[in-house]
């Protein structure tokens, strides 16, 4: 299965591996976008499909069909890049680690519960 890539990914690839200068790349991307379809007649459905692709819920056939058309349709290309960016932003900004004190408190509470059970059960059995 071909991995879904946005223009941003391809631009990074060109910049990092082929050492194409950023300014030239920007111009190339700008020109490429000019050739793309400016409106999408199925935009609401495409957006739903884009989200299912990003959520790994689309079938391989759906994903392949979308990827085959994405590079010709500007709204789909931009929609795909936006959804990818949003997910990336959420992943990198909304993570917090459990405080060590909480971890220790849960273990201590569990310890007390287990001891109480081991004392009380023989009394009632």
């Amino acid at each position: 299965m071909q991995k879904a890539r946005g223009i941003t990914d391809n631009v990074s690839l060109l910049r990092n591996e082929l050492f194409i200068p950023s300014l030239l790349l920007k111009k190339l991307v700008h020109e490429a976008r000019k050739l793309m379809k400016k409106t999408c007649t199925h935009q609401p459905d495409c957006l739903k499909l884009i989200q299912r692709i990003i959520d790994r819920e689309a079938t391989p056939e759906e994903e392949a069909a979308f990827l085959a058309n994405k590079d010709q349709c500007l709204p789909c290309q931009e929609g795909f890049e936006l959804e990818q960016s949003l997910r990336k932003a959420i992943k990198s900004n909304c993570s917090s680690k459990c405080p060590e004190a909480l971890f220790a408190r849960i273990k201590a509470k569990l310890f007390v519960v287990l001891i109480l059970i081991s004392i009380l059960i023989p009394l009632f059995c």
């Binding site: 957006l47 739903k48 819920e57 890049e81 932003a89 993570s95 909480l102 519960v113 287990l114 081991s118």
Partner: protein
């Protein structure tokens, strides 16, 4: 703290081993989910602790080999709705408060318009701005975005965690993202992002 296994009975020792192996590795994710739901560190810690104690109490109903994280998240979500929802804190940033007010409540309704937001704008935004926009979402939408985008649960797992049909998972997620994009677009415009 090591629990002296010789002092506890065989079933309890088994339950303890199961708890440590299957549940403890998910504490970070549980705490993060609790923090996003309550918007308060102390409430989040209490919620995780209560969830762990409940999970231990009902450990017999957990089937080893099934997805422990989804089981724990379901308990946490129920715990939050029953005990914490009323006192959870509001949005942390004033700029995003309008999101709560503008939400009509009909989650099956299609989003009204497409937000004028671009990937480059999102990439330029500061972490705090993204976090504030998420925190300002109505809690049901915030919940589904965290479960999907951060914890990467499948639609089916989310349906089980949230006790809703899979179709509602899809529509709620779609609407949550639309509101988030609208909110970020309005904010970006007001702050002069390109």
């Amino acid at each position: 703290m090591e629990i002296p296994t010789q002092s506890v009975s065989q079933p309890q020792a088994h339950a303890q081993a199961l708890f440590e192996k299957e549940f403890m590795p998910h504490l970070d994710a549980m705490y993060n989910f609790a923090l996003r739901l309550t918007n308060d560190e102390d409430d989040a810690q209490d919620l995780v602790q209560d969830t762990c104690m409940k999970a231990f109490r009902f450990i017999d109903s957990f089937e080893p080999g099934t997805y422990a994280k989804a089981w724990l998240f379901r308990i946490l979500k129920n715990n939050f709705i029953n005990d914490y929802r009323k006192k959870s804190r509001g949005p942390s940033k004033v700029e995003f408060e309008w999101v709560e007010q503008s939400f009509s409540g009909d989650e099956d309704q299609e989003p009204a318009s497409h937000a004028d937001l671009h990937a480059e704008t999102v990439n330029e935004m500061l972490g705090d701005e993204i976090t504030a926009a998420i925190q300002a979402l109505p809690v049901d939408f915030r919940m589904i975005i965290i479960l999907c985008d951060l914890e990467e649960f499948s639609y089916e797992e989310m349906a089980r965690i949230l006790d809703i049909p899979i179709g509602t998972v899809r529509s709620r997620l779609h609407r949550a993202r639309a509101i988030l994009k609208e909110s970020l677009a309005t904010y970006a415009k007001s702050k002069g992002y390109h």
